[in-house]
Symmetry: C2
Subunit: 475 residues, 2 copies
Amino acid sequence: MSKTYLYSEIAENLAEQIRNGSLQEGDKLPSVRMLCAEYEVSMNTAKRVFLELEAQSLIYSKPQSGYFVSSLSYKDLPLPEESNPILLANQCAPNDILQKVYANIGREDILLLSYTVAYGDMLPIAQLKKEIVQATRALPTGGVQYERVEGNVNLRRMVAMRSLSWGAHLKEDDIITTNGGMNAVSLCLIALSKPGDTVAIESPCYPGILQLALGLGLKVFELPTNPNTGVKVEALREVASKIDICILISNYNTPVGSCMPDENKKEIVELLAKHDIPLIEDDVYGDLCFSGHRPNCCKTYDTTGNVLWCSSISKTLAPGFRVGWVAPGKYKDKVLKKKLVHSISSSALEQEAVANFMKSGKYDKHLRQLRKRLYQNYQNYANVVKQSFPKNIKICQPQGGLSLWIEFGEEIDTIALYDAAIKRGISIAPGRMFTLQDQYNNSMRLCFGLSWSSNLESKLKQIGILAKQLEKLNS
Amino acid sequence: MSKTYLYSEIAENLAEQIRNGSLQEGDKLPSVRMLCAEYEVSMNTAKRVFLELEAQSLIYSKPQSGYFVSSLSYKDLPLPEESNPILLANQCAPNDILQKVYANIGREDILLLSYTVAYGDMLPIAQLKKEIVQATRALPTGGVQYERVEGNVNLRRMVAMRSLSWGAHLKEDDIITTNGGMNAVSLCLIALSKPGDTVAIESPCYPGILQLALGLGLKVFELPTNPNTGVKVEALREVASKIDICILISNYNTPVGSCMPDENKKEIVELLAKHDIPLIEDDVYGDLCFSGHRPNCCKTYDTTGNVLWCSSISKTLAPGFRVGWVAPGKYKDKVLKKKLVHSISSSALEQEAVANFMKSGKYDKHLRQLRKRLYQNYQNYANVVKQSFPKNIKICQPQGGLSLWIEFGEEIDTIALYDAAIKRGISIAPGRMFTLQDQYNNSMRLCFGLSWSSNLESKLKQIGILAKQLEKLNS
């Protein structure tokens, strides 16, 4: 594992206090000298702590006075309400808008705020290129021949080892690799559902899951979801007798960014096990915690093998590699069979490269940097929203992930906003994409996985201007 | 394009005459001197022609007498009859035996005659490793970022260009890349079928297709199939009003190795278009023609966009890369949407590497060598079967591909043969895998994509010995 610098640990401590409110806007920080004494470090180290926090926009310096906690004025902005979808299975897919938005994947002439991926210099591209070259040389047949259906053993071993950090104790044999996280969810759902079954999900929900379920002939039950704590446990309890399967993005979900508290995770796992309802847990954002403390998963509390834990490196490291995995618990044989039938095996090369990247400690180092930059991005986005968006805005407060969910006043239709923004080379994700019901029409999701720049800042402001124009038009 | 040597062209001419029977067993070949005169080549070139044919076991030399056409004594062996499945949709999957056989994928301690792939030095592994390294360097983001849903543009361009050689005129925009050929078929079937639909297939049929169809809740109609010319057109005509979709492996199919004549392809395409039944054409073996003349596809005769042509390089170049594609005709939007939902995008790296390998001419060069070796392997296998297997054997006569379908007398159950063989480190594919009905119990498929060796030869003989023991036991 790569070493952590002392200054960076101390900075993280202070950052955590700012994030959790122990240190508030305008609070004075200890002086350099005090920091030296408190942590028993050198002057140089103490100075680097402040430079680090300043670089993250968390503090600012006043000449002759010292360092102060920055204004996080966006923190006044209210949270959206808990969602309140109709509790009925329901099939009205927003096909037109999905088609429009997803047609932009991979385009380079558009600022893509519409998909939750990290872009450009947020990803360690040069390092990964080297890793691929090495994997090509190291693999006995260069990845040219089929590997076992379960997938690359080194990757499965690394994923198992990393599961210790969130309280699971997976073994390599518990894991099957897949062509990315969505492919893992897809194989699980194909393996465990039959047409006509009902699947329960969060609302709003990642559109890929909605489309997948509809495509397999499933009925979809959208559940009330809290913007901080995720799906409402009581709601799930209420519908438990009417559903056959459940899919949840437990940590920093998209679009609202909620993270289920441990007690909710535990309760849901027990509830679903009792009713023998399999839980497909999509945990692709779990490693993107701002605080550095990686949250547990539902899988952590799974004692019966009823949780199918799906994840990938698509959100954290290399979307284009299509490297994901699933720990399907007691459903392993079923999922393995579906992988065989739908794609025979997966590509060994990228799996081996990712495994080596993890093994060398480079992945953890990269995660530390990425988390910091994402948190900073989130703050920058939120500040622009506060300053340049219409006044009656509501905004989620994610503690990790890549998604910022923004709710406008009711006079703003975000599909109209999409149409106006795309003409200016900006792609956003309108709220209607995230539901099968007639709701979230005045919400949108922005991805904050892009490298911060003045161009990005001005484009975000432009969205605000467009929103204000729409507001005027319709009021 | 890489150059072809003169000697190799002349050798191919003569080989073709031997294969098609113009030159028969024991026939004397022209002398070296005569060959020089006929083709206006040097003595050295003429000598290399004979060495080449000798190396392919097609001819042998008698001292002082010259060269003679080798004994292809296996040619006396009778063909299996046309298959005669019950014409009823039917769902009895051979799960146990499938599970047993497929659990061996990627194992290195077993001689894998059970899957149709080319192995080891049949594949240009070192060249492909270089190609990957170059692609990693050449791709702007090293394949780390998502690419467009349609897939790598260079690969789609090369596939389109190559389609000219079999009479199609595809353009890059007609093509979507996939995670291998089976993934292409899977996406098409998911896009076009709904549970309860009926799909028509050849019988015997590739087990992956049977499993895929059952898994999607489809009913399966097995059609009578001729070991040389493939599915019976009349049979398809008869059931056309009862089926919703059709999947055919048109060229060198597995397991029987049949190749549909052009007139059958044309007739079937017209028939299905008339009834508005989509045809998913699986053409993964088309490039593996022994003769060097690549057969047309059903897609060649598709004037309405009703044929979804699927192929890959899994059988010809690099199974582990998971690079395939589909030209879905008028169903392109539907298939594209399913690709997005089930795996978002595909891995750019291997696609780029394969595209460059094609572009440089290395793929065609490799195909020429591979075809020769596969033909030679087929002959070697057939000779062992003739010499060492029970007397009342029937055997298919593929003109390409990787599959040899062998029918024993009725007293031999090939599942029992599998059990005996696997104990000796040999995996075969019992006939029952290839149907949902109670048939083909005395047939098996062997893959001849392995490098020929004395170990392989002795293992094949061992299968013969085991079969004879089973015969004795049960007669």
